[in-house]
Symmetry: C2
Subunit: 384 residues, 2 copies
């Protein structure tokens, strides 16, 4: 392909979803690494750990006892970053003084959940079959639905039977206030700040629109206006599905690619091929398609360096509340940001230049995608 020359020269690539550039220096992979090594992951966890605050039947930090759940289990984070109730704080009027101009703050309320993916302490998404991942997707969908604004055009879709609360959703009560955005994410592995290996994700819901989905939404709306109603990510999925150079895995409904503008060495974006605003907008076949892609991506990650591959993963979709234009410009997609670069113990550090100037990557997305395409098949741990 015409872009082969980019394998050998330093260049910048543009991310139209963020409206930002990054630096790509493919030859940097040749430099020797004498820095920090990550601890190889422990692979000998028990199926049940009596000291784990996520295992079924165990006691949690604030005294609650987990039910003996058999599939997913959701509860309010015992150390929530945002809370439903707190002391009142009114932001200062902008009265033109230096203080109000330069020291601006606003209160945030919201709700933080923890979602255990399965009762088994020693499994990860990579160990699960698509059928076992499906309940996680339906749990996300139920929780999203429970927080949707009744005025959202999506609210009408929220009545299907799959979305009815499960007995282990006790904590997912209708919230006190209408929140703006729900961020669903997973930190996996000690290298990505995860402090408990029990498979789980988090869900933070806030009154404010957070920066990243806000920036994406701005650019999705801009593209839609400029391209006569087209959706940037639907267009991008079609382009990648056609080119195949950056595709990791694809089925009828979703595509997983190492995006043209990825920052992390093996960054992957999972995109719905049809324009879908959010989880609640998916039908059964699409949910199954998503489960398959999540299984394929996480299994390939583990196979790549034959290790428990660390990453942060997060869903972007329509805000819980927003203008019609905002909601209709949204497009369901999932980002995976994994730090490993060369092996199970050598990661990419996004530090000095990256923090101060601009993200910089060493291997190209095309090289990363080729390697991930090649590590399909059974999970390495099963073959041992």
């Amino acid at each position: 392909p015409e872009e082969k020359i980019l394998d050998d020269i330093s260049h910048r690539r543009y991310n139209p979803l963020r409206g930002s550039w990054l630096l790509v220096s493919p030859h940097r992979t040749k430099r020797p690494w004498q820095g920090q090594q990550e601890a190889p992951s422990k692979t000998t966890l028990p199926e049940y750990d009596p000291s784990c605050y996520l295992c079924p039947g165990n006691k949690r930090a604030q005294g609650d006892t987990n039910p003996k759940y058999e599939s997913t289990f959701v509860f309010v984070n015992d150390y929530s970053a945002v809370k439903e109730e707190q002391a009142e704080y009114a932001a200062h009027d902008q009265d033109g003084t230096l203080s109000t101009r330069l020291l601006r703050a606003e209160a945030v309320t919201g709700k933080c959940y923890v979602l255990a993916f399965t009762p088994s302490h020693n499994l990860t998404l990579a160990d699960l079959s698509p059928a076992q991942i499906l309940p996680i997707i339906t749990a996300w969908t139920r929780i999203y639905t429970a927080h949707l604004s009744p005025h959202s055009p999506l609210a009408a879709l929220a009545s299907s039977t799959t979305l009815q609360p499960s007995s282990h959703d006790a904590d997912v009560a209708t919230p006190n206030a209408q929140y703006k955005y729900m961020q669903i994410f997973e930190n996996k592995g000690a290298a990505m700040g995860c402090s408990n290996p029990h498979p789980h994700g988090q869900i933070w819901t806030t009154t404010g629109m957070p920066e990243e989905p806000g920036i994406e939404l701005h650019n999705l709306q801009k593209y839609r206006r400029e391209q006569g109603g087209a959706n940037l990510l639907e267009d991008y999925a079609a382009l990648e599905s056609d080119k195949k150079e950056r595709t990791v895995f694809e089925n009828a409904t979703f595509i997983a690619v190492c995006p043209w503008w990825g920052i992390w060495p093996f960054e992957v974006m999972v995109i719905c091929k049809k324009h879908k605003l959010s989880l609640v907008d998916l039908d059964d076949a699409e949910r199954e398609g998503l489960a398959e892609v999540l299984a394929e991506v996480t299994r390939r990650y583990d196979n790549l360096f034959e290790t428990q591959f660390p990453y942060s993963m997060g869903l972007h979709q329509a805000p819980l509340e927003g203008t019609k234009e905002e909601i209709e410009a949204s497009h369901l997609h999932i980002h995976f940001y994994p730090p490993l670069l060369r092996s199970a113990t050598v990661r990419k550090f996004l530090v000095g230049y990256e923090l101060m100037a601009e993200p910089q990557r060493d291997i190209t997305p095309e090289q990363a995608a080729a390697r991930l395409r090649d590590c399909g098949g059974e999970l390495y741990r099963r073959k041992l």
Copy 2:
């Protein structure tokens, strides 16, 4: 102060320099930490390490031999992320096709330097006196000056004797092309991706304006237009110097604060109190003032948890080439992004929510500043 309530509630703060928000959750520090511990730093390094590629007289990766330097020493990075010469690549015309719209790239050339701060393998900025830090500042200034566009209004300032090339600047030849921006930075400590403890920083110079200084420059220009020619950071330095709540250290020429909008737990910004466009704009007293502040900040960092405190540090200043408006809106300042949160081994991870949604911090900048103010005095290692 009126803001005391912000110590107890979740809130967002606005960063006018980036035009972005972050989430502050002060109560999160109460949560127990069971995750990854950083390796405590080795403090028993030799003054000279025969296998170090930065020590005087040693051989480097590509075969060059370091001079027996006695102060600073600069050379072209043996594994430069950008190079002066590479194969030609012309960006595609925007012809309206999906490919040119969504797969945009541009070539980048430039020059990367490594700057050894001192010949001693076992010292850090925190071990150096202001008088020993001064040569580092003059080296940065010389290198910046050597790359300045002859058309920059700053070029006229570049003739002072302190700025004449030193005998160890052999590699700092006038570049082949006029580069746009010079990013001076230091990654310190294994936790921040540093692979060699020998005290050194890096300098990456590129044809493109990198994202971060580009965003700051945009907002500095905006403020200047809106506030009748005032400079955002000069105003901010005056405000903090007056309030004292977030001040870590201050002398006649520079102030070090934990900025209102800081993301990292003990993030510090060093700001010139007068409006100065770049290093070359400083006089002798100001260079000495900067050396003292750098000594004070790095020593306090090490004293805080009695460890070699890891951080990424970087200078932002006027671009090497730019419009008169861009150069005159610039203001010299230095960011320190240190990851440690609770102790020498427990860091803050900026991961899932932070990457997917919005930066989140646990302790407030006011709390961080109070702690750093309290750890002045002699370096803990000297007292042992």
